[in-house]
């Protein structure tokens, strides 16, 4: 199987899932992203991104317990997988290595 790619928004969501470790579900991911990005993010976009990275195997999910809130609906928590972590590392390294190649001279 070919290596999966990771879109920009998917990467942000994956980072947020990793950062929130074991507490990540739709709403908190959304809020985290909105806070960091300083702009409105659509919840359905987050859902789609979560589904995609789950299909690709970067995260796995489990259902939470039933509570009074949320109209009695359970939360779906996401945790990053080893594959996901490797993907993030690879992305980070890739960017870092290219970043380091920027000649300092260009900007005086």
């Amino acid at each position: 199987m070919t290596q999966h790619s990771l879109g920009e928004f998917e990467e942000l969501v994956l980072l947020m899932v990793a950062a929130l470790h074991d507490e990540a579900y739709g709403v908190v991911i959304l809020e985290g992203l909105e806070e960091k990005l300083k702009k409105k993010v659509n919840i359905s976009a987050v859902h789609v991104a979560l589904k995609r990275i789950e299909d690709k195997g970067f995260v796995k999910s489990r259902m939470g317990g039933i509570t009074e809130d949320r109209g009695g609906r359970r939360k779906k928590f996401y945790v990053i997988t080893a594959l996901g972590k490797r993907m993030l590392d690879a992305q980070y390294d890739l960017r870092n290595s290219i970043y380091k190649q920027i000649p300092k001279i260009s900007f005086g």
Binding site: N42, S44, V48, K51, M63, G71
Partner: protein
Amino acid sequence: MKVHPPKRSLQFLRWFCREDYLDEIEGDLVELFEKRSETISLHKAKWRFFCDVITSFKLRNLKVLKSTSNLIMFQHHLKIGSRQLLKNKVYSAINILGLTIGITCCLVIFIFIKYESGFDNFHPKAKETYRVVQHTKFPDQTLYWNTTAYPLAEALRNDFSEFELITQTAGPVNRFFSFENNDNRFESNYVLFVDPYYPKVFNLNWVLGDPNTALQHTNSIIITEQIARKCFGDQANDASILGKTIMLNGKDPLQITGVVKNAPGNSNLRYEILVPYEFFRQNNPYPSANWSGNYQGTTFVVLPDQLAKQDIETRVANWKKKYLNAEDDQRISYLLQPLEEIHTETMYGSSPGGYTMSKRILQALAFVGIFILLIAIANFINLVTAKSTARAKEVGVRKIIGSTWSNLVRQFILENTLLVFITIIVSLGITYGLLNQLNFFLHTIHLQLALQWSDVGLVLLLGLITILLGTLYPALILASFKPLQIMRNNLSIGTDSGFTIRKSLTVFQFSMMQLFIIGAIIVGMQMHFFKNGELGFSTDAVISVRVPQFDKLNEFKNTLLQNKDVIKVSFGSGPPMAVNGFALGTLFRLPGQPGEEGMEAEMKIGDLNYLEFYNLKLISGKNFSENKFEFDEFIVNERLLKSLGWTAEEAIGKRLAINEGEATIVGVVRDFHNNSLQHEITPCVLLNWNHFQNLAFVHLANVKPEVLQSIEQMWKQSFTTSIFQYEFVDDSIAKEYFVETLSFKGFTVFSIIVALIGCLGLFGLMTFITSRKTKEVGIRKILGASAAEIILFFSKEFMLLILIAFVIATPVAFVLMRLWLEGFTYKIELAAWMFFSGGIITLVVALITSGFQTVKAAGANPVNSLRSE
């Protein structure tokens, strides 16, 4: 307090979203909503929730697409479908445009009919409420009134216990008001006098004030929001305006006791201002106690037991002699008319400010709507079918790969759904805009059409029908394709049966097109006849101005005549043709003849100039010698003499009696249309009376705003009460043909629409046929056919279809239009040219439309079409 997300949005989410995703999506959405509702307004939070639900409506989340193979096929079909649409841009545009026009028309008509047939059904007791109507029998005719004598309500209340409620109204009438100081004046044409029972029968939508007490005091006034805004501006909804004083006609102080919402458009009961009936009774003691003659009183009764209606009517027939004199008792009968039938029954006419819309017109309109939709669907089927046979090869490949019949059908359904879906969205948008335009153009009848959710449901239903019909035929055809034959290019495109169906659809379209064009021509001729018909008098550049003070008439006239823009001035009770539903009625008979043998006549009052002013021709005798407070001279029309059996010469000098008194006939005037052309000329008496001269007629040399302004200035010099108001007599006469003008405009618009859809269909079909027959055309050209022959070769077929359609359409049009014309007393004669021009216009339009394609096909180089095999 616990907040709840909007129910409908939630239902929608649960409906489309797959079960295993629901916990996450719904939960997150609800949680977000709960959080948001603490920081932003509930309304905004609900809106955001709705937006979230809509954005979650994604393929991935759909219930139906849970299984992957379905999803893949769905995506595949969607992709192929949209590519097909984009590839054949002309075809798609034609198809979408045609169907959009059809669905939009049908929807607008449906909304209009629903609106017109739902008049006054919103009152809590609408089903149990009846209006008392009066039939008055005369030796030569029966008159139908929607008004009754004022004391009737009180008498019914005393003598009949079956009625739950009885309410009496007077008006609506015109009054002028002032408030705060005398400079703030306004006028209302809809002042309705109502008794305290009125708010119990009819829904008034109170904004301020107490419905139970608002009408208790004689000097109260209830105003609508519109009037409140006019008087008090920003404070209109403030309770402080209750108790303020408004002066009626500059002399009677009335206290505001309530504010109600404006009268809804779909109501026959027009009001802007409500004043207690008691006030009217005290100020008009004579008419309000009088049983004889007809006054502007309307009586409504609430009868819970519907079965008792006939019984009550019979009992009232025997009971009325208690109050009516013997003569009236014989003539008059009282009947109960259900409230919900008032608007669609034209017999009793409309009350001031209202209008009636006959059931027949609504039915005709419904047929028009259905036919336009059918034409549009026929068009759709034609185009889809044509297209699907062109895609035979694709179908063949699919079949060979293993596609089943149901797979293919699903694909076509999806493609049609895509088309119809776009159409529906566009239609709804257009309808929304169109309704606003309609409301604006028809604001004179307070039209308030609106798009409702149920209408969207109707559109979806129409869409579904279109999809089914549009899919059925291609699906059947395609199922019968043998894949091998298709691949070997042996398919006979458009089997015989297919062409018959397509041909009959085209014939249907063309017949409809001709029917509508013939209809539009005939209705147009009748309208032309109405507007330019010989009325027997002239009204060019004549305005009528209300003159409130009789003693100032001469002064006003003299100032007017000093102005060089004024040619002539005359005073009278009304223009020669009764307009705005206003006519003075009376009975005429020979002196000494008993009262019950009197016959109905219209009474007109005019000054000495009146005949000359309106170009009314005297055929014998002379004009009045002077106007008096006790009239002594009559001028009558020929129609009246006909009732008496006199000639114009022998009538001169004879005495005649009317209800108001006796006088000598001094002149006979040639018949003029004293009623609008839908109705016959009736007997008419002109009196040299000084009463009722409450209109001034001014003939202007040129109609300019400055002239009207200077007339207003002159008016203000002479009159101190009331408000300057003018109307062009031409316009008031044109208003009498409001419904006819409307149906003419409707017919014109609808025939253009039908023609347009027909043309679109023909254009699409010709595109298809010419492309299918490229090779045949090539061979024909090589064998020596000229371009003209090729064009004829293509045109021949649909010319034959138009001829068949003409044979079908003409008799139908003839019967329908004769039926329509029967409603008019004065009408045009049907002529053969009206029908033939319908056929010829259709033919020309069809030739032009198909011309684009046929000329292109005829001009093509045969080498190009024959080179590739």
